[in-house]
């Protein structure tokens, strides 16, 4: 038996034991007020982090050294696979994904409690307890239905290698980790929300007046000065971190789909995509609504509900993609993991609902809603829109599964449903972005709002008029550009105005002044950057989905054809044998107006274990448009090839916009944190 099998199972077994021990310690600490018990609870989380690190490193070692005596390696490893792909095969299939999940979860929870170890709120004890309960669930998955460390007897000489789809592109090395950092990060706000409900309204000062307690040697009768931090403050950096990674993960997923699958698009409202999008929508609503609680002492219970909902949607999404339920509603029980997930989702849902019903009554806060013309109302409206969006996607994703389960007929929801429903929502969200920039908290008046947005409005009308003159006649695009440029103008003008004031008219101080803004009001200006990215992304998605041209061409070697202003010349069709696959390449020269631009090589990769070849499109990206080539068919004697040519404008701006959005989220998290906690 491979030593890796022993190490892995030992780590999983010890982690389960530590979870149980830690849960008891935290309960004891909250009941008796013992500092020792609290340290033991925290120690269990640290211990789990160490154990998961060891287990994951052991698995990576087994993958790299082709240890086929380990069950997971015998499923996804092969001698021919390039080593870097072997390493990232850790997340190429179910069992490895769950192991990796456990590692990220343990990292989040251990670092969270470590950073807050000096805080005295009882809230943290409950949060640690919730962390351990969630860890326990994943470790049980690892021990029973999704154990990657089963011994394989006799040891096979080779394995099938990972799914060909996943060993075709470098994005597979970064998209899954980003997605996990996002998905699992939403555990932190969830745990603190549940902890708040368990702790009640005192803010949870251990030994504070709310519940007098005997003070021991290390008594907690002396609370630190300052107001008790609410859960929203404590979890804000974690929420923003997770949200930023979830954002980039979704964009990278689209990019992967675009760069590998060869259909020329990046988003198909596929259940797998929707599974990652729904928690993002709920999480985005939460990122906005926690501000209302902090600034105006409103919506405390609403925020708790949103944090719980976001976490539930991550669980549901994982269930959707990992339980086989998509192939057929009735096959998921064969997947071993599906039922476990359903039970856990049921437990989380009912426990959260019960807590909300019993405990949320006494968490009310004094904030009062005063006017419809106020920032808090806009935030509430934003929340309604994001949740409606989420519900639209939810219905379109789950309704077919429900129908199949009840009536046995297979249906799918056509893409037009999603497009029709989401376009108005997105337009409204874009409008809110500008309104939110010029509306104050509490109570605004029309005159100020109008005067603040008059100049930007003229500017954006001008931009829209230019587009109209250029010949764009699609009303939705024009409206979107009008709204998006309005928001952009307001932000840019504000930043310029304030930095100019700061620089005191001195041009040399201008840029540093801009940067210092971030530290002064990180939330506002980090938010600006995130919104600028989002606006770029929304406009790019709209433009690219409306104006694309597709053509299928068949060429013989040295034959040239013209598509969308490009001349395409097929140079040769070539077959190359590489260790893990056989590649058929069409070498195509691209030129414009007789000037050669570059050589694109779309290819088809044949794997010995897969019936269908996996394509690799070749893409020439510019800031204006993408030229996208796929090899669709070829004659085996190399005499001709059929290529699909797709020309789509503005695609590159989707990835750029996504990157900027993520950066904005991270800046809002990192800058100026010291003052707030």
């Amino acid at each position: 038996m491979s030593p890796i099998v022993t190490i892995g199972n030992l780590c999983i077994g010890l982690s389960i034991g530590l979870c149980l021990f830690g849960i008891l310690s935290f309960i004891g600490a909250r009941k008796s007020g013992s500092e020792t018990a609290a340290s033991l609870g925290r120690g269990s989380l640290y211990g789990n982090f160490i154990l998961m690190t060891v287990a994951n490193l052991a698995m990576i070692y087994a993958l790299l050294s082709n240890d086929f005596g380990v069950s997971y390696v015998s499923h996804v490893g092969s001698l021919e696979t390039p080593r870097w792909i072997s390493a990232i095969s850790l997340w190429s299939s179910l069992e490895g994904s769950i192991l990796f999940w456990g590692w990220i979860l343990a990292t989040y929870t251990a670092s969270c409690l470590y950073l807050y170890k000096d805080r005295k709120e009882g809230l943290l004890l409950w949060a640690g307890l919730v962390f351990l309960v969630i860890e326990l669930f994943f470790f049980i998955l690892l021990a029973l239905p999704a154990n990657p460390f089963l011994p394989v007897q006799p040891t096979p000489a080779n394995g099938p290698g990972p799914n060909p789809l996943l060993q075709n592109h470098w994005l597979m090395a970064i998209h899954p980790p980003c997605l996990y950092l996002g998905y699992i990060g939403f555990t932190v706000p969830f745990a603190f929300a549940v902890a708040t409900l368990l702790e009640g309204p005192s803010g949870g000062w251990r030994g504070s007046g709310a519940r007098p307690r005997a003070t021991g040697e290390h008594g907690w009768a002396e609370p630190e000065p300052g107001p008790p931090a609410t859960w929203t403050l404590l979890t804000r950096p974690w929420l923003l971190f997770a949200w930023s990674f979830q954002t980039i993960a979704i964009v990278l997923g689209g990019w992967w789909s675009y760069a590998v699958l060869g259909w020329g698009g990046y988003w198909a409202w596929d259940p797998v995509e929707n599974a990652s999008f729904m928690p993002w929508l709920a999480g985005t609503a939460l990122v906005h609504s926690v501000m209302v609680q902090e600034k105006r002492k409103m919506l405390p219970v609403w925020n708790l509900m949103l944090a719980i909902l976001t976490f539930l949607l991550t669980l549901l999404g994982t269930f959707l993609t990992r339980s086989g339920v998509l192939d057929s509603v009735h096959s998921f029980t064969e997947s071993h993991i599906g039922p476990y997930f359903l039970v856990f989702i049921g437990i989380v849902l009912s426990a959260s609902l019960a807590l909300l019903l019993w405990k949320s009554q006494n968490l009310r806060q004094p904030g009062q809603f005063e006017s419809f013309l106020s920032l808090e109302f806009l935030f509430l409206f934003n929340n309604l829109l994001f949740l409606s969006f989420c519900f639209v996607v939810f219905l379109g994703t789950w309704y077919p599964l429900l129908v199949e389960a009840i009536r046995g007929t297979r249906i799918s929801v056509g893409e037009p449903y999603f497009n029709q429903m989401t376009v108005p929502i997105v337009l409204l969200i874009t409008l809110l972005m500008s309104l939110g920039l010029v509306t104050p908290w509490k109570r605004g008046n029309f005159k100020n709002i109008l005067s603040a947005s008059r100049f930007p409005l003229f500017l954006s009308l001008g931009i829209t008029l230019i587009l109209l003159i250029v010949g764009i006649r699609n009303w939705a695009i024009l409206l979107l550009v009008l709204l998006a440029s309005l928001a952009l103008d307001i932000m840019i003008i504000e930043v310029l105005r304030i930095s100019w004031k700061r620089a005191e008219g001195n041009i040399l101080k201008f840029i540093p002044a801009k940067l210092s803004l971030l530290n002064d009001n990180p939330r506002r200006y980090g938010g600006f950057i995130a919104h600028i990215g989002a606006l770029i992304l929304i406009v790019a998605v709209a433009i690219s989905s409306i104006y694309d041209q597709e053509k299928e061409i068949t060429l013989k070697p040295d034959e040239t054809t013209e598509v969308g202003g490009y001349q395409l010349t097929l140079k040769e069709i070539r077959g190359d044998e590489v260790p893990q696959r056989f590649e058929i390449k069409a070498v195509v020269n691209v030129s414009r107006d007789g000037k050669s631009l570059e050589t694109l090589t779309p290819q088809m990769n044949f794997y010995p274990t897969s019936r269908e070849p996996i394509g690799s499109p070749a893409i020439r990206s510019t800031l204006i448009e993408d030229l996208y080539l796929t090899l669709n068919n070829f004659e085996k004697d190399g005499s001709q090839a059929t290529l699909k040519v797709i020309i789509t404008p503005a695609v590159i701006w989707i990835w750029i916009g996504g990157g900027i959005t993520m950066l904005g989220g991270l800046l809002a998290m990192v800058c100026g944190r010291k003052r707030e906690l």
């Binding site: 249906i411 597709e550 056989f582």
Partner: protein, 146 residues
């Protein structure tokens, strides 16, 4: 005063939500696409004509013709066959014997007019089934293309 404002507020929210709900159901009902096999499609007879469905099955050997951008082939499920015509671009390596899903309508002449050929993208890998011989295709190619 306070109560009146609160009531107004609640009504506003309810109004927005009910409007949304109405739109949602309408949009969903309109865009449901049923998934059928050739046998089920033929069993529906004339009722199937001009209704958008997704038809799934295997591309029948010897039926693929490609003429002036119109692709025609037959989809079968081992019991029944349905002829399909489409101008949509076929997915990579469209070949006989592969499983496909097409979306479109059955015309009055009992030919299925498809406007989409689907590219499936799963995130779970299934090894080849019995009777599929990727190695054979692989070998044949690697000898032929050298």
């Amino acid at each position: 005063m306070k109560n009146r404002r609160r009531l107004l507020f609640v009504f506003l929210i309810l109004g927005i939500l009910s409007g949304l709900g109405y739109l949602l159901w309408g949009g969903l009902e309109e865009n449901l696409v049923y998934f059928v096999t050739p046998t089920e499609l033929i069993a529906k007879g004339d009722k199937a004509i001009n209704n958008t469905v997704r038809l799934g099955g295997v591309v029948e050997a010897g039926t693929v013709h490609f003429e002036s951008n119109i692709l025609s082939f037959e989809i079968s499920d081992d019991q029944q066959k349905v002829p399909v015509v489409t101008t949509a671009a076929p997915p990579q390596m469209f070949h006989e014997g592969m499983g496909v899903i097409v979306e479109g309508k059955l015309g009055p002449d009992k030919r299925f007019v498809a406007d989409r050929l689907m590219v499936k993208h799963g995130n779970e890998y299934r090894p080849p089934k019995e009777g599929e011989m990727p190695q054979e295709i692989y070998k044949e190619l690697s000898q032929g293309m050298k």
